[in-house]
């Protein structure tokens, strides 16, 4: 007894020691350790596409996540909610559609759900924080803030307890809202820069609504957050029994009779015992059809009969005749169509399990159920089961069972987390074993061990959102060298005549940071620190095996230089230009507008290494951007379209347009979306939003014509009237006069030999004009004086930060200006074309692209291609093919010239490849491609680590892969 | 001694391979191998693979 007390006391002491660390925060909505192991495949965690009753595709996957765990003194601790099983559908699951859902490895159907919305009032959040907004563990994340006309707008996300969020949204209370968008349907072609900048204070997203009350750059206050929640869900764990319905007669179901009596608006269904004398249940139910509103609260009761005390739920559906007695739908369509002919059938669901959000899992009270709804449709998207209490693994007790699963054979733990070697503060061996006793590799990948037992096993898409903070580090600094995935060789290379607006092969090696591709923090005149970086993208290349050569199509190779946000004039902002720091001087932008045009739904979406179907893109000007209709949903049968602006680089504009017409919360709709959209200077007003096409009434987005920059740092000159300063070798700047109250300065620029003199008054720089700074080019131009005479291109601008100081006026002078003009050859190397990309919000330079207008051919005779020449005449990078046999590339690398040295990348065809697609360097453009292929790339990292090849259809997977749904 | 695994009651030993029979078997194998390879190459060159 005493011993017990002593050990008990010791345990308490230990716990106290543990809690010496800051009180563990709820792991809900938080990410696991950035370097946690990811194992994509474990047989017991399934990942498969099924179809529902109407042939709509449902991509289901399961995963196990461990987060916020810690290892100390030979013990691994996982807080309550730290071990989480996730079953997820990429779309959603709703009643009455026979939507499939995985429940701890078992294929189930969602048959009923109680859907509501939750509204949380008055939530404050500081920049960078993820604050908990409700008891379930939803968090509001303030990711980022930037500005327009010096007014802030903020990027937010609502994170579900599992860690999933569908998209970041931008809101602001400082700008005109979408409803203020004027009729611009008269505009067509290029028009000048528009003054308005739109950002709505309310983000409307189907079933969700987030309204910001007030905010600045560092904190925000939301007056309300409304989002859907699922209170209860009922799953059927077996395939339903389908019986032809016979009117005024009964069908036998086991020992029960099920009668159907025709009524004017449905069938009176009566369930009796075998004799027919005892009525067990009776109800009028209506035959089902595919309309979405039928699962709403007021409606859904009309469509099913649940027999009390019996494991039975009866619905009546139309079953196509050839599918009698089956629920197998062999094809997929993205729209739910009812069957036009067929038989009315009873669909009887059995093996029903009802789970309640926030309550214990029926088979295992150690686990708590979480039901998460799609923020858009409000329907079930995720089922999570998480440990209700903290648990500890140590030498005496090295495993923790997952939740007990329902099984046809025997109910047993769905998985087991084992940590069998903990050495002090490091875990040297831990793994997960599934319900079929299959285990993962040791999740502590190196001998050093880990300080936590975080991990993510399985392919649930939540993986992508949960890694938002760390994915770049994971991919850019691989622990196991530059990963190269071997290609699948086919007779038919994916040939694109021009790769503009398209992404590289998702398996393209990512070289990460490489000397020669700059990346550094720079500070502008206002002291704002921005990351500036450059990189190289090769896309759409292929081996032309009939001619023993490698082809990079036009626009297949581009140099990219980009800052963390757009590059602004008047602030002395810099960007990389082929390895050198360049200072932006001025820019020239317009608004590209189009009206009355159609966009088709992009039905065939890219998958694997197939290039996308491109003829449905709508061009926005020449080599500027395209519009792409990428997603289509029915929200209670009203079509909703997601349209993206795709940049020349192949990346999407940050804000997709979510459009639906005729929805209104006032008229009782469950959903609302704007029927037009405007963010920044980009807007779209549809005439008609259909399921597969949208007719656009008016659309506009910025386009940039040119920018001017210099490699020489601008010099500040403080001049009293009459004073002058040299600007370049041949010119002089003289201040004639200034008027501090009016904010104007009159200056004179002259050639030193006196042969040419020009005078101009800069300004006014007043409160009114400042309201358009720094983005509006009309105001920018009024503050700049450009003097262009062939060899000498110079510019003087007012110092907008401190224009007047101690009775003097301040200027910045720029010399040796160079021009980047859209769609013209780059003057430093005319083999490349300049394709500057504009910020869709604000008309500023977003990205400098230099690409190849002609195909690049590499073969045995020409194994080397030099990239654009830098100022010193050397190419910034070269592509070098080391071993190519006409069919496979066995070795190639990239060389860079940096500080008079040559740097070589790793072999980018370490495993044989059929293209030279590659991502080198790290900037926003490359980040976009990486994020889009994060799941595949992370899985590849794992295959690469262990030297295995992806082969999903082996072992038990082959068995499950051949089971029909 | 009769080898039960390979020899049948007619004395045919399926692992024996000699003489004219070996020659003929080789020939069948060679013809099939060349035919398969040639066909596959033709299929690939004509875009069927």
């Amino acid at each position: 007894m005493n011993k017990l007390l002593v050990s008990g006391a010791a345990a308490v002491m230990l716990c106290l020691l543990f809690s010496g660390a800051p009180a563990a925060e709820s792991p809900h909505g938080l990410a696991p350790a950035g370097d946690m192991p990811f194992i994509p495949d474990l047989g017991g965690l399934r990942h498969k596409t099924f179809k529902n009753q109407y042939g709509q595709q449902r991509d289901l996957s399961e995963a196990v996540l461990v987060r916020q765990s810690s290892v100390k003194d030979g013990k691994a601790t996982v807080p309550a909610g730290g071990l989480c099983y996730i079953s997820e559908t990429e779309q959603d699951a709703a009643p009455f559609k026979r939507d499939p859902f995985l429940v701890l490895g078992e294929h189930a159907y969602l048959v009923d759900a109680v859907q509501t919305t939750r509204t949380v009032k008055d939530v404050s959040v500081k920049k960078g924080e993820k604050v908990i907004v409700d008891d379930a563990g939803y968090r509001l994340w303030f990711d980022y803030a930037t500005d327009h006309y010096d007014l802030p707008y903020i990027q937010m996300a609502l994170i579900a307890p599992s860690g999933h969020w569908p998209m970041e949204f931008s809101v602001s209370s400082k700008f005109p809202a979408i409803k203020d968008l004027p009729d611009r349907s008269h505009m067509e072609g290029d028009v000048e820069q528009l003054d308005e900048f739109f950002l709505d204070p309310v983000f409307e997203y189907g079933a969700s609504r987030f309204e910001v009350k007030d905010h600045d750059f560092t904190q925000a206050e939301f007056s309300s957050l409304t989002y859907p929640v699922i209170e209860e869900a009922t799953f059927s764990l077996s395939r339903p029994v389908v019986l032809d319905l016979r009117q005024e007669e009964y069908r036998l179901y086991g020992t029960k009779r099920i009668y159907a009596f025709r009524q004017s608006n449905g069938f009176l269904v009566r369930v009796t015992d075998f004799s027919g004398n005892n009525v067990l249940a009776e109800k009028m139910i209506r035959p089902l059809s595919s309309q979405g509103y039928k699962d709403s609260d007021g409606e859904k009761d009309n469509y099913s009969l649940t027999v009390p005390g019996e494991d039975m739920r009866i619905e009546i559906a139309v079953q196509p005749e050839y599918l009698r007695h089956s629920d197998f739908v062999p094809w997929s369509t993205e729209e739910p169509h009812d069957w036009q002919d067929g038989l009315l059938s009873f669909v009887i669901y059995r093996d029903l399990v009802t789970v309640k959000n926030g309550e214990a899992w029926p088979l295992d009270p150690r686990y708590k159920v979480g039901l998460e709804a799609s923020l858009l449709t409000g329907k079930l998207q995720r089922l999570t089961l998480e440990n209700a209490e903290e648990f500890t693994l140590d030498a005496a007790n090295d495993s923790f069972d997952g939740p007990v699963k329902y099984s046809d054979v025997w109910n047993r733990p769905a998985f087991r987390l084992v940590a069998d070697e903990i050495d002090g503060d490091r875990v040297k061996s831990y793994y997960l074993r599934d319900a079929f006793f299959q285990r993962t590799d040791n999740l502590s990948f190196t001998d050093k061990g880990r300080k936590d037992i975080d991990c993510f096993i399985g392919r649930a898409p939540t993986f992508i959102s949960i890694l938002e903070d760390s994915f770049l580090n994971r991919l850019a600094m691989p622990e196991f060298g530059t990963e190269v995935q071997g290609s699948t060789f086919t007779s038919f290379p994916n040939v694109m005549p021009n790769m503009a607006f398209h992404s590289p092969d998702p398996t393209a090696p990512f070289g990460g940071l490489m000397r020669g591709f700059g990346r550094e923090q720079v500070t502008n005149r206002r002291g704002e620190r921005l990351t500036s970086s450059e990189g190289l993208v090769i896309r759409g290349s292929y081996v032309d095996w009939k001619n023993n050569r490698i082809v990079i199509p036009p626009s297949g190779l581009y140099y990219t230089s980009r800052n963390a946000r757009n590059v602004r004039a008047l602030n002395g902002e810099t960007f990389y230009m082929l390895g050198r720091r360049a200072y932006i001087a001025t820019f020239e932008s317009t608004t590209f507008t189009r009206r009355n045009f159609d966009i088709d739904f992009w039905r065939v979406q890219p998958e694997g290494n197939l290039h996308p179907i491109y003829w449905q893109d709508q061009p926005l000007g020449v080599n500027n951007k395209v519009l792409r209709f990428t997603e289509s949903h029915l929200l209670d049968d009203r079509p909703m379209a997601q349209i993206n602006v795709v940049k020349y680089s192949g990346n999407n504009f940050g804000a997709p347009f979510e459009l639906a017409q005729g929805l209104s919360r006032e008229q009782g709709d469950r959903y609302y979306l704007h029927d037009r959209f405007a963010e920044g200077a980009t807007w779209i007003e549809p005439e008609f939003v259909g399921e597969t096409y949208v007719r656009v009434k008016s659309f506009g987005t910025p386009a940039i014509q040119s920018v001017q920059y210099t490699y020489e740092k601008p010099v500040r000159a403080l001049l009293a009237p009459g004073e002058e300063t040299a600007i370049g070798k041949n010119h002089t700047l003289k201040l004639i006069s200034f008027d501090e109250a009016a904010g104007t300065s009159t200056i004179e620029l002259r050639r030193n030999d006196g042969s040419l003199v020009e005078t101009r008054t800069l300004g006014p720089l007043t409160a009114e004009t400042r309201a358009f700074l720094p983005q509006h080019q009309r105001v920018v131009n009024s503050l700049q004086f450009q003097f262009d005479e062939g060899k000498d291109k110079i510019l003087a601008e007012m110092d907008v930060k401190t224009p007047f100081e101690k009775g003097k006026a301040a200027f910045y002078t720029y010399i040796d200006l160079k021009k980047l003009e859209s769609d013209t050859p780059y003057e430093g190397d005319p083999r490349f074309m300049v394709r500057p990309d504009v910020c869709g919000h604000c008309y500023q330079l977003n990205e400098v692209l230099l690409d190849n207008p002609e195909p690049i051919i590499l073969d045995k005779e020409h194994p080397r291609f030099d990239g654009p020449l830098m100022a010193d005449g050397k190419p910034q990078f070269s592509i070098v093919i080391d071993s190519f046999d006409g069919e496979m590339i066995h070795a190639w690398h990239i060389e860079t010239n940096y500080r008079k040295r040559v740097f070589k990348s790793a072999n980018l065809a370490f495993q044989p490849r059929n293209n030279v697609d590659v991502l080198m360097g790290v900037n926003g453009t490359i980040e976009g491609f990486l994020r889009a292929s994060l799941m595949e790339r992370s899985a590849l990292q794992e295959y690469w680590r262990t030297g295995t090849h992806p082969h999903p259809e082996r072992g038990l997977d082959a068995w499950t892969a051949h089971k029909f749904q | 001694m009769r080898r039960s695994h390979t020899t049948d009651d007619e004395g045919f030993n399926y692992m024996d391979n000699s003489g004219q029979e070996e020659h003929d078997r080789d020939m069948v194998g060679i013809i099939l191998a060349v035919a398969f390879m040639v066909l596959t190459v033709i299929f690939q060159r004509t875009g069927l693979l």
């Binding site: 007779s491 069919e887 | 004219q20 003929d24 060679i30 191998a33």
Partner: protein
Amino acid sequence: MNITYEERRRSFLSCLYSMQESLPGLLAMFFIALFSNNLAGNPNPLTLENLFRWLDAVIGPVNHQQFFQILNSNFVWNPFLMGLIIGNVFGVPDSWKRGLSYIHKLMPLGIIMLAPHFIFSHAEKVGMPLILIAFAVMLFTAVITMLLGKLLRMDDRFYSTVAGALSTGDPHVVAILMPMLKSKGGQVINALGSILLFGLVASFLLPILGHALDMDDKAFAILSVFGIGNTGQMFNSAFGFSYEAGHWAHYVEALRHALMPAGFLFVFFVMFIRARIYRDDENVMATKAHKKLPLFIIVFIIAYIVVQFHVVKEPAHLAIFELVKWDFSLAAAALGLSLPLREIAQWGVRGIVLAFTSGIIRLAVLIGVLLAAAHFNFPLI
């Protein structure tokens, strides 16, 4: 006692026998193959391959590799094992035997179709120094193994099989050499077992030795690939040393594949010429049954030369390789059925002694070369 083949022969197609005679045996092979491997077009998930994969997952990775891969389970091994079990437990019905004799058509068929697998340009990337070293070590191993085998007074068919498979580092080679050398089934399997046992032991011990000798990752990868081979075993060894060595082992493995035909053809021609020289020596058995150079070897060599010019492009090669898998699966089933266990045991432990002795000599030579290269800073890759 019965009509001979020559008597019933009408054309070369007579070796196909009648449908009635051959069908049972063909079906036996077919079903063994069907339940052994996940072959192209085989929808059956209940295969031995899948059972092993599941067991692999239950056992958990060893040095990140699957355990049955380290035991070299593959498309030859699985149906062979199944045939062996069926044959030894239930015996082989007489009705199957005509059909099972198709193994002698399947062997040359499979060997010739392997030619597109050996493309030298896939290995060029590793560079000439390593190609030459690997080639020299391979021939050296073949020679030393054959000499040692003779010294151990082993059957020449047996030791030359060991020599071929050990020097090329590929257990498939025992099957390829079987019709070439005219070796016995028991010898082939005994040789296979000996080499795999050596590889298994070496693959666990070599990383310890590598660390003791402070070898670098690339050198150790080369040591694994050319000192052990046997794909799964060399990865076990290389990944047992380090991740980087594992990756480099993947890289240089292409060279081992490209050199493989040179290795087994070398052994064959040595034995073939020897048999011609010692026509009357009754101890010389390997290749002796060949009156002249077998046609299928000539065809293989021609195909091997032709494919070097990329006549068989990649998806075609994959398709042909799927056929090879089918072919060897069927043949291995027949081979497994043919062998009573005692016939494998009959060749004793001398195969093991030979594999270990030669294997260790090869490792010693390779380590010497690699350490010398490291000493003189000579880059091998």
